[in-house]
Every structure is written in structure tokens, then in C-alpha cells.
């Protein structure tokens, strides 16, 4: 039975991924902030066939809970996780972020500070046993800062860089780190956007994540077509890129 730790379990991508683990009979330890929503997700996963489901309510931006929740996860799962999926994040509102430094700091705390702090602890535990996979949900937005949402892009660029460094540090010790870069996904986070054909469903992204974990990929763009798109975006000279209204 695979032991899976899901950080930010009420995010749409996390829930879809957890459902696939449940179908495979995995043991799940779920962490999220809203107790009613977390219970709805946990009950669902139990019905779908999860070998075991434990729910832990915590605001992960409060770093003081981190050690406690990881200890609880190991006790409940009967050992360190085989897969630790970090899936929480906040998009923020571009117009607000452009003017309000506190809002910008909030996004950085949720998308970068808290994940770095939490994964540092997770990494230490996995390093000790010399196995396991850390999955971080970053974003294509971290590949280059757009005028449309500079703060979100910066937070994801930071997270991508951290995951890359973590991978380089841990792989010799048997711990694998997977960076997931979804493009636009149809989730509550993007509900206000008009859905183009580029939007993917959380289920599709979840299947991609599981496949990438199984084949021990380092970086995966989901769906795949974002990789060439971002390669082109990164290749643009800044002088041209700055003129694009994206």
C-alpha cells in the first residue's frame, strides 16, 4: 500500500490526484485548511477505495504546524510517505497585487515561503530513509515573469528553482523530486477566466502526475504542449517580450 501525503488536499489538482491513488488502494494523509471541505474530500477518497484516509486540518502558512503535522502523518501512515504531493497555491488578483504590497507578500508566503519551509522538513525525513518522491506543483507561469501577474510568476519561479536545487541535493540519496508545471487548468482558482481550448481538466493533469511519478521524471509540463510553448516564450528577447500584453 503506497503511503501518500497530500499537502493542500482540497485543491482541485490535489483532489484529482488523490482519487487516482485511492483507486490504487493507497493510504492517504490529507492536509488542508477548511475542515468541512477536507472532510468531504476524505470521505470521498475512502468510498473510492483508499486503503486508509486521515485528515489533518492546518493552515500551512502558519509554519509552526509543520513539524507536528509531519509527525502525525508518519504515525498515521505507518512510516515516511512514498509520495509527498505539495499542491496548494494562490493566484492572487492581478489588479490588487499591483498596488497592495501586503497582498503580494501573502501570495509569496503561500506559494513560496510555506512550501520551502515544509518541504525542507519533508526532505530531511525522506533523506533519512533514503527513498520517496516529492512532487511540487509549480506552474508554467514560473518560467518567465509576465506583466499580467508578476508576483504569482515570481513565487512560482522561486518554487521551481527550489525544487530543482532540492532534486540535485537529494537524488544521490535515493529521494526523487518531481517538478510539475501545469498550464491553465479548469479549477476554482481559474473560475473567473474565460476557458480557451488550452485549458486542461484536473483529471488530465492528475493522470500526467501519476505517470511522471511512475517513470521518475524530473520536470513535467502538463499537458505536454506547454513545453514547446514555454521554450518559445523563454527564447524571446526581453526587448520584445516586454511589449507583449500577456
Amino acid at each position: 500500500m503506497k503511503r501518500v501525503l497530500v499537502l493542500g488536499a482540497t485543491s482541485a489538482i490535489a483532489e484529482a490526484t488523490a482519487r487516482l491513488h485511492a483507486l490504487r488502494g493507497g493510504a492517504l494523509f490529507l492536509v488542508a485548511r477548511n475542515p468541512a471541505r477536507l472532510k468531504a474530500v476524505a470521505d470521498d477518497l475512502a468510498v473510492r477505495g483508499a486503503g486508509r484516509v486521515e485528515a489533518f486540518v492546518a493552515d500551512l502558512n502558519d509554519l509552526s504546524h509543520h513539524a507536528e503535522l509531519l509527525a502525525a502523518a508518519e504515525t498515521a501512515l505507518g512510516g515516511p510517505p512514498d509520495v509527498a504531493l505539495l499542491a496548494y497555491g494562490s493566484l492572487g488578483t492581478a489588479v490588487v497585487l499591483d498596488r497592495d504590497p501586503d497582498a503580494a507578500v501573502d501570495v509569496l508566503n503561500t506559494n513560496l515561503v510555506s512550501p520551502v519551509a515544509l518541504l525542507t522538513l519533508v526532505a530531511a525525513r525522506l533523506e533519512k530513509v533514503g527513498r520517496g518522491t516529492i512532487v511540487g506543483i509549480s506552474s508554467v507561469a514560473g518560467d518567465r515573469g509576465r506583466g499580467g501577474n508578476a508576483v504569482y510568476g515570481a513565487s512560482k519561479a522561486g518554487f521551481t528553482a527550489f525544487l530543482s536545487g532540492l532534486r540535485a541535493r537529494l537524488w544521490r540519496g535515493g529521494v526523487h523530486v518531481l517538478t510539475v508545471k501545469p498550464g491553465q487548468v479548469d479549477t476554482p482558482m481559474t473560475a473567473h477566466m474565460t476557458k480557451s481550448r488550452l485549458f486542461a481538466t484536473p483529471g488530465l493533469v492528475a493522470r500526467g502526475i501519476l505517470a511522471a511519478v511512475d517513470r521518475q521524471a524530473d520536470v513535467v509540463y502538463l499537458p505536454w504542449f506547454w513545453r514547446p510553448i514555454l521554450a518559445a516564450v523563454r527564447a524571446l528577447p526581453e526587448r520584445i517580450f516586454k511589449q507583449l500584453r500577456i
Partner: protein
């Protein structure tokens, strides 16, 4: 739970153009928060007419409410959110030996939609309607109240909500009693029907011996041949799964076909081929997907009717009047030359439906569909409605686009009682059409909402 503008369609291709759409994701959240106009829950949009649309108001899409809450595999009791589709439900329960007691002709509907339309299936003569097997549901109303409704708790609100077309509030979860099955197969057989008399004779005999019965009738047969068709009948087989899953791939109609695709010639040819293929088929094992949901294998099959879409009519006429009325209806369709593939005939049994606006009741039900060819199709439908009404018939809102205010009132004797339980925050295009000019009664205050959420 956010909002945006989207175009949503009903299955007959009616479109809600100017609709605010809000996707629901969490059953604990208030679906009505911040709305000013009227709202209507929207599942998979398989209602044919305008009963799932709300022109000018908001649609609350429920597909994000797709979680299971509990499943007792000993007793076959499942609780799930309203946006779970029957397909997802069956995928979960069938391998564990359970199947819905009642399924409609497609599994691409949500549980909430099945409740709101109190849908029926090919076993109505044994099992009654879908609502008969709903043990409880949670209803959230626009005043912020939240109630668990069942036959014991708030029975009047339960009766209004089952078959209530989404007009009594938002159903967040439903608890269903399932039935035990040995595997995914049915022992099915088909019998050729010579004419309508043959149907009535055979249907009595078949209903006594078979759990599922339904007849397909050729809309172009006239005179002595009226009612020529095929009777399908089946029981669950005790043979377990032999190979995993149905081997059938999913096909799709990728775009609207030209309206001329369905004409007298092509439809007659199809009907003849279908008749030939099915008229003599010995008893055989059939996968339940094939038997119950033959069209689900073809995504967007409604596109074969072209851009203008299709119009459906389904009525039920009392048993005494049925032979005459059904013959008259089929005659008129044949004469018009507008008939289409799906003329479906089924005898309903006398299991009472639980909803105040439930459609199924003792009698014979006939479902017809027509490619929408403008005014002359609508004319024909009005003519058929008049015939059915004269025979004491009632009409099915989920399949309607032309019902008059009077037709609606004649169909539902408990309408006045139902209106007492309307949620003032809910409305639909259908509702405004069939209640046009009628005094609108605000819902009476109910018993103060107790906190009975588990």
C-alpha cells in the same frame, strides 16, 4: 464557487445565451451567496427543452459536486453529491455488486438531475420512478437554510423536491437505495411487434415475466401496421463479469450535420434495417451498457439533428384510453412524415411516484422525437399535445419545449401544493413559460430551519 458568462445548452440544443454561470464545488458553501436574480441548478444538461435553462438568470452548475460521501456495501446504501453522474456511480458500485434500482436511457445525467426530473426506466412496472429509491437528500434554499429531507423529515419539502425541476432549491447530496446484481449482464430478448394490438397483448405478458420491457415503434407505419416495431425485454443475469469492462469504444458526432440528413428516406431506411436486425433474436446475454444506454457510446448524438436541434414529446395516457390515443398519435405522426428514430412505447405500472410534479403514473407512455424544422414541427407537436390531453394525458417537462400553460396544469394535479414550496430564489425558462400569466405565489414560511446537517 465563481461566476462567469458561458453559453449552456439543453440536449435539444436550446441555448441559454445571456446566462450567468456559477460553478459549485463545495456542498458546505452557500450556492446562492451574492446572487441578485433567479438561479437554477444545472447538471449535465440532458433535459431536451428549456427546463434546465434560465434565460436572463443564473445557472448553478453542479458537476463540481462530484464526491461520494458514504457507501454501505452490505445494505447497498450510497450517499453522494448531486453532481455525480450515473456513469460514475455505476463505475463505483457495479464491481461491488450494486446497481441503481432505476436508470433512465442515458447514464450521462447527474444524480441531482435524476431526482429533479424524477426519471423513470424500463422497469417502471416493477420499481416505480427514480425518486422511489431516494432515501434522503439535503436541500439548500436561497434564504440560507439547509435541511435534510426524507419521507420522515420535512416530507412535504421532499415531495416537492423529487420531480421539482430544481425549483425548490439546490440539492447538495442524495442518499440512494441500490439493488444487488450478480454482474453486468442481462438476459435479453427481442420480439417483433406486428401492430399496436400485439404490443398491448405482449406487454402485459412481458411485464409479468421481465424486469425490463420497452418497445420501439416505427413512426412511418400506417393503417393496419401502426405500432409495428420491436419489444425489448430483459432480466438481470446471474453471470458474473467475464472480461473487464465493455469493449466498446466511444464515438462522437464531431459537428452539426445538415438538417437534410434526416429525411423520410433515411429514417425509413434506418427503421427498416433496425427492424430486420432485431426481429428475431434469441435470448442472449447483453452488457447492461448496450441494453440501457445504447446512445451513450456516441458523444453529441444530438448533432445529427442539425443546428436547429430536436424537439421531443413524451406523454403518458391512462390505461383505458391508451389503445385509442396511442394509435391516433402514431397515425398523425405517420401522416405528417416527420417521424424520427425514437418512438418509444412503455407501459407504466402502478407504483406511485413520490414527487408532487412527478411525471410517471399508471398508463402507457409514448416518447417521440422530431428534427426541428421550424413552425410545421411545432404545429405538429401542438396537434399531438391536444390529442393526448383529450385522452387525459400528462406531459414530461424534461422532454418538452412547447407545452402550454393549460397542458401543464392538466398534467400535474398537485401543482398548487407544489407552488407553496417553490424557492423564491429559483426559476427556469420552462417555469416562466408554463406559468405565464398565472399568479405567482411566494413560498410560505416553513418550519424554522433546524440545524440537522450531520
Amino acid at each position: 464557487m465563481e461566476r462567469g458568462q458561458r453559453r449552456l445548452e439543453s440536449w435539444g440544443r436550446q441555448v441559454a445565451a445571456e446566462t450567468e454561470v456559477r460553478d459549485l464545488h463545495w456542498r458546505e458553501a452557500d450556492p446562492f451567496a451574492g446572487l441578485t436574480g433567479s438561479a437554477l441548478p444545472y447538471g449535465l444538461g440532458r433535459s431536451y427543452g428549456d427546463s434546465c435553462l434560465n434565460q436572463g438568470g443564473a445557472l448553478l452548475t453542479t458537476r463540481g459536486l462530484d464526491r461520494f460521501a458514504s457507501f454501505d456495501a452490505e445494505a447497498g446504501v450510497l450517499r453522494c453529491e448531486a453532481g455525480v453522474s450515473l456513469e460514475e456511480l455505476i463505475e463505483l458500485t457495479l464491481p461491488r455488486g450494486w446497481f441503481p434500482r432505476v436508470v433512465p436511457g442515458t447514464k450521462l445525467v447527474t444524480v441531482g438531475g435524476a431526482v429533479a426530473n424524477d426519471v423513470h426506466g424500463k422497469n417502471h412496472h416493477r420499481a416505480g420512478s427514480f425518486g422511489c429509491h431516494v432515501r434522503a437528500l439535503e436541500l439548500v434554499r436561497s434564504d440560507g437554510s439547509r435541511r435534510v429531507c426524507s419521507r420522515e423529515q420535512h416530507p412535504e419539502l421532499f415531495a416537492a423536491t423529487v420531480g421539482g425541476l430544481g425549483l425548490t432549491g439546490v440539492v447538495t447530496w442524495v442518499e440512494l437505495q441500490l439493488r444487488q446484481v450478480e454482474g453486468p449482464y442481462l438476459a435479453a430478448e427481442t420480439v417483433a411487434l406486428r401492430d399496436l394490438d400485439h404490443y398491448f397483448q405482449l406487454s402485459v405478458e412481458s411485464d409479468a415475466r421481465f424486469e425490463y420491457t420497452v418497445a420501439w415503434v416505427d413512426c412511418f407505419a400506417r393503417g393496419r401496421r401502426v405500432g409495428r416495431g420491436i419489444l425489448h425485454r430483459a432480466n438481470h443475469s446471474d453471470r458474473p463479469e467475464v472480461h473487464p469492462g465493455p469493449a466498446r469504444g466511444r464515438r462522437s458526432v464531431p459537428f452539426d450535420l445538415p438538417a437534410a440528413t434526416l429525411n423520410r428516406l433515411t429514417v425509413s431506411a434506418f427503421n427498416l434495417a433496425y427492424h430486420r436486425r432485431h426481429r428475431r433474436r434469441a435470448p442472449r446475454l447483453e452488457h447492461l451498457d448496450r441494453f440501457f444506454f445504447p446512445l451513450d457510446g456516441v458523444a453529441h448524438w444530438n448533432r445529427i439533428y442539425g443546428k436547429r436541434g430536436l424537439l421531443q414529446l413524451q406523454c403518458v395516457v391512462p390505461p383505458e384510453a391508451a389503445p385509442e390515443a396511442v394509435r391516433e398519435l402514431l397515425e398523425r405522426v405517420a401522416r405528417s412524415g416527420q417521424g424520427s428514430f425514437l418512438a418509444v412505447l412503455k407501459s407504466f405500472g402502478d407504483v406511485p411516484s413520490p414527487g408532487l410534479l412527478s411525471f410517471p403514473r399508471k398508463g402507457v407512455t409514448l416518447a417521440l422525437d422530431f428534427a426541428h424544422r421550424g413552425e410545421r414541427t411545432v404545429e405538429l407537436l401542438r396537434e399531438l399535445y391536444a390529442v393526448a390531453r383529450q385522452a387525459g394525458g400528462a406531459f414530461y417537462p424534461a422532454k418538452d419545449a412547447v407545452m402550454s400553460v393549460e397542458d401543464f396544469e392538466a398534467s400535474f394535479p398537485h401543482l398548487a401544493e407544489f407552488e407553496r414550496h417553490l424557492d423564491p430564489g429559483c426559476s427556469s425558462s420552462f417555469w416562466r413559460r408554463v406559468r405565464a400569466g398565472r399568479p405567482w405565489q411566494p413560498s410560505l414560511p416553513l418550519i424554522p430551519s433546524p440545524e440537522n446537517t450531520p
